[in-house]
């Protein structure tokens, strides 16, 4: 059952991802990207990573997609709509893509440690109060520094956005 849901979600996600890169209208591409990101969020739910799923929906489907669509509003998409989307680089892209995919299949998958007993692990996590609770406990004790550092990174992003937004004002002045 879980496998079937996964295959459906993964299929929709991959098809939507292909549409992101192949559709002519950039706004349609952005909407397909929403579908892809939503499917990834649903797959996180299947993996019992509830907090990650919430993050995916709130941050990626919510905020990042607003950012992407606003970025599309900054460019003149009429010109890009008539550009050729497939050009002479595509054959090299296919070659490199196949090599990278083979690399994953040959080198990474056999060496990665799969969880031997997922049911047992899920039960243990549930006993400890669930995935989010465990993650939160580590985040606010062991990874305290990383957590506080994240706020500094967000601060840098805010300051940079405000500064660049001023610089790019229509008059060309920094105001």
């Amino acid at each position: 059952m879980v496998k079937l849901i996964f295959i459906i979600l993964a299929g929709i996600g991959v098809i939507a991802a292909l549409m992101v890169v192949s559709l002519k209208n950039v706004v349609h591409s952005a909407f397909c990207l929403i579908i892809t990101l939503f499917c990834v969020g649903c797959i996180f739910v299947l993996l019992h990573a509830e907090f990650l799923a919430a993050t995916q929906i709130l941050i990626y489907v919510g905020a990042i997609m607003v950012l992407v669509i606003f970025a599309l509003m900054l460019i003149d998409s009429r010109e890009t709509a008539n550009d050729r989307r497939f050009h002479h680089q595509s054959q090299w892209v296919i070659i490199v893509g196949v090599i990278l995919a083979l690399e994953i299949v040959i080198f990474i998958i056999p060496k990665s440690k799969f969880i031997v007993n997922p049911e047992k692990m899920i039960a243990q996590t549930a006993e400890a109060g669930g995935n989010t609770q465990l993650l939160a406990r580590y985040l606010f004790t062991d990874y305290l520094f990383a957590f506080e550092f994240a706020s500094l990174i967000i601060l840098v992003a805010v300051v940079a956005a405000v500064f660049l937004g001023k610089r790019l004002s229509p008059t060309g002045k920094r105001e």
């Binding site: 059952m1 606003f70 900054l74 609770q133 606010f140 957590f147 994240a150 405000v162 105001e175």
Partner: protein
Amino acid sequence: MLLSGLSSYIPVLVFMAISGAIGFLMLLIGRLWRPSHPYKEKLSPYECGIEPEGDAWERVIPRYYVYAMLFLAFDVEALFLFPWAIVFDKIGWFAFIEMVLFIIVLLIGLVYAWAKGALDWRY
């Protein structure tokens, strides 16, 4: 009713199905019910009642992007409040101080944006 595992997401699916059906049905009923007398003015995009001017595919001022960026930053901040709320009773005042520090650092960003006038809408 205590649901376990993936079946606890059935209410979420029901919510999604109902909200999707409402949107779809509203459009469908409207389409079946309304009279269809299209003419040029009626089909033109609605711009607060004034005559539409130019194309919708226009470049907008970058101020929108700053707003989206600020929304993203404070969205990330809000997200961290959820795990914090879960473990607050276990970790106690230590977690409280951590979160106060976190929010103060982000408040500096908000104050900066405010002071620089990024929150005022000017053309």
